[in-house]
């Protein structure tokens, strides 16, 4: 029967389930063993599955993805944790030059079923370099998938799908949501699709597109609009790569107005790709300019100014109103 889980509980439950189902699933990363990770996402797994399936590594971020590439070539399904997304940059070389290419460059002889997990985003008063969101850089890398859950149930189903997927998946966990709420999660081993948006609420007046922790401010803004009798589709993109534009295009065809919300800097963010497709395949549906409510094109400030950097409900509301009033 269902259990009330937080998002980080759901991550742990999904990993445990995958490890139960498949001996090839192992976990690697800094501090994932004894303490179960700095966010406790792997808490208890080391005692339950043993230190040969939950491996504490040295501080070697250039190594992790490549290590997983080697493990995967030999039949394992490694789950590698980067302690914070800001420390994932050294993994980009192996992600782009090897993980995303191995299947293609060997015509399928060697494959790369790995999962790279990282807590991502800001809003928790963390130290410098602990609040990064650069999913857009990952989404530009061919041959990989990028997934971002926005709820405990999604974290469970999507992470299971990611672990079972035959190709590399980067799984970004909005740390602001880790313990912000609980929901019923049934540990039934059921996975969720890795190529589909999820519509969180429906309406015909406006399409709000977002993902990760920004779903909170976006839904709050949608509620405020609803109070004024304006109904918005709120779409959680979920799979940043591959991007399910079919769902978004269908929504905008109905509403004619779209605002995209994300925490990462605006320029070159994933919002740009969504707006670009709207400017092409969706142009004839557009009744108003496509708005973007995002982090600014600055270095993400230390936590003192973070609230002024991140999209707020008010900012979403203002841009949504502008889109609605456009004629």
């Amino acid at each position: 029967m269902p259990e009330q889980l937080t998002l980080v509980d759901a991550v742990r439950t999904a990993i445990a389930r995958a490890m139960e189902d498949d001996d090839n699933v192992i976990v690697l990363g800094e501090d994932v063993g004894a303490i179960g990770g700095v966010f406790r996402a792997t808490d208890g797994l080391s005692s339950r599955f043993g230190t040969d399936r939950v491996l504490d590594t040295p501080i070697s971020e250039s190594l992790f993805v490549g290590l997983a590439v080697g493990l995967a070539a030999e039949g394992f399904r490694p789950i590698v944790e980067y302690q914070f997304m800001g420390f994932l940059y050294p993994g980009l070389d192996q992600l782009a030059n090897h993980a995303g290419r191995m299947r293609n460059r060997t015509r399928g002889r060697l494959t790369c079923p790995i999962v790279v997990r990282a807590p991502y985003g800001g809003g928790v008063r963390a130290p410098e370099h602990h609040s990064e969101s650069f999913e857009a850089m990952l989404a530009h890398i061919p041959g990989i998938r990028v997934v971002i859950p926005s709820s405990p149930a999604k974290a469970y189903g999507l992470l299971l799908a990611a672990i079972r997927d035959p190709d590399p998946v980067v799984f970004l966990e909005p740390k602001r949501l880790y313990r912000s709420s609980r929901e019923d999660v049934v540990d039934d081993g059921a996975s969720l699709p890795l190529d589909r948006c999820d519509t969180l609420r429906t309406g015909d007046d406006l399409t709000l597109v977002t993902w990760g922790a920004s779903t909170l401010e976006t839904l709050a803004a949608a509620d405020r609009l609803a109070a004024d009798g304006i109904d918005a589709d709120v779409i959680d993109v979920v799979t940043i790569k591959p991007l399910d534009m079919t769902t978004i295009l269908a929504s905008v065809e109905r509403t004619g107005r779209c605002v995209i919300v994300h925490e990462a800097p605006r320029t070159g963010g994933v919002g740009a790709e969504i707006a670009a497709v709207l400017a092409d395949e969706g142009l004839t549906s557009l009744l108003a300019p496509v708005g973007r409510v995002t982090g600014y094109d600055t270095v993400i400030p230390m936590f003192g100014l973070e609230p002024h950097y991140q999209p707020t409900e008010q900012r979403v509301l203002d841009v949504a109103r502008r889109a609605l009033e456009f004629a």
Binding site: S60, D297, G304
Partner: protein, 362 residues
């Protein structure tokens, strides 16, 4: 096929360990005799550091700063480094060298600002040329190497001092930095602050190398260990290395062996991965009491001085808290004002939005 071996040249390398052989060591008193003023200076710096750390932890507990990393038990390493450096040398720290930063002139209020989530904390008034706290483990080693290269190219007899943790020695960029420093015989000293832990990962699982000092062998320069709870030894070994570097002798790796008596940070609970027994055993060797005992034994220190010093430090830190908390808040729009020397036109609209949304103009 052993019979094919007819040649067997063997290269040999040495890694020394230096320090006292425990409290009250004769050599200790020798050196006490030589420069008590300096010793008392280092003692005061260690006590100030400990007072700062205790206050910072308290401020975090009450939500007045964010996550903080205490250097409790490791004061001798940072203070020993700071004491060995010349003012014109450049310190490139990790995030646990407040002892060295304070000794070199960074204000405690500036450090509170940093941990309070305010960029102005890294804009300290002195020393202007030192690097700020570095959070991404090991990445500062590349900066320190670049600084040393600049010093070598200018031949200005300054030295770059890079502090890093035991866990940082597993980072590839630290190795690349050391290897290049060796190739160019750069004026740099890498000090590994080996506190036995990288969050929950013990030193032994960080590397199979018997010592971290021997990592220097891969880069072709000397490495040595020093008792990191012995501020006299840290200062001595580090300044030897610094002066050798200053004289063109090239890099040195100093592994200072100490112990992290505190949790990794205020966000950590060390009891999850190490026993109270282990920790209390290490308390016996903590550096502040160790030097105090020695000063007392030698008749250079007593109750009143101690009492007075504690009061002085408390006052300095209290004043720093007041200064920190009375700083005008950082203007939100300032996030644009140091992004580039001149803000590109295309960013102006975003800045205006921040200002319009109540981020009073900078």
């Amino acid at each position: 096929m052993h019979d094919t071996v007819v040649r067997d040249h063997v290269l040999t390398f040495h890694v020394p360990t230096r320090g006292f052989d425990g409290p009250g060591g004769a050599a200790g008193t020798d050196s006490l005799a030589t420069d008590q003023g300096e010793l008392i200076g280092m003692y005061r710096a260690m006590v100030l550091t400990r007072t700062f750390d205790a206050k910072a932890v308290a401020l975090q507990r009450t939500g007045r700063i964010g996550t903080f990393a205490s250097s409790l038990g490791q004061e001798a390493v940072a203070v020993g480094i700071g004491a060995a450096m010349a003012a014109g040398d450049v310190l490139v720290p990790s995030f646990r060298e407040q002892g060295a930063m304070l000794l070199r002139g960074v204000e405690p209020a500036e450090l509170f600002l940093y941990w309070g989530g305010d960029e102005r904390g890294s804009d300290f008034a002195t020393p202007r040329h030192d690097f700020p706290i570095c959070v991404p483990i090991g990445t500062q080693a590349a900066h320190a190497t670049g600084v040393a290269l600049a010093m070598q190219l200018r031949a200005d007899r300054r030295v770059s001092v890079c502090a890093l943790g035991d866990g940082a020695t597993s980072r590839g960029d630290v190795y690349e930095s050391m290897n290049y420093a060796g190739v160019r015989r750069l004026p740099i000293v890498f000090v590994v602050n080996n506190n036995q832990w990288a969050i929950s990962v013990p030193r032994a699982r960080q590397s199979a190398a018997e010592t971290l000092a021997q990592k220097a062998i891969a880069a072709g320069f000397p490495g040595e260990q020093v008792d990191g709870n012995d501020v006299i030894a840290v200062r001595a070994v580090t300044s030897e290395a610094i002066e050798r570097a200053r004289d063109g002798g090239g890099p040195t790796l100093v592994e200072a062996i100490t112990y992290r008596l505190a949790d990794h940070t205020t966000a950590d609970d060390a009891s999850r991965y190490r026993s109270d027994e282990e920790v209390s055993a290490r308390w016996k060797d903590e550096p502040v009491a160790r030097l105090r005992d020695r000063l007392v034994d030698a008749g250079h220190w007593g109750k009143e001085q101690e009492q007075q010093l504690l009061e002085e430090c408390a006052a300095v830190i209290e004043a720093a808290v007041t200064a920190y908390e009375s700083r005008a808040p950082l203007a939100p729009a300032s996030m644009f004002d140091h992004l580039y020397a001149e803000l590109p036109a295309s960013y102006r609209a975003q800045r205006s939005e921040v200002v319009a949304r109540g981020g009073a103009d900078a």
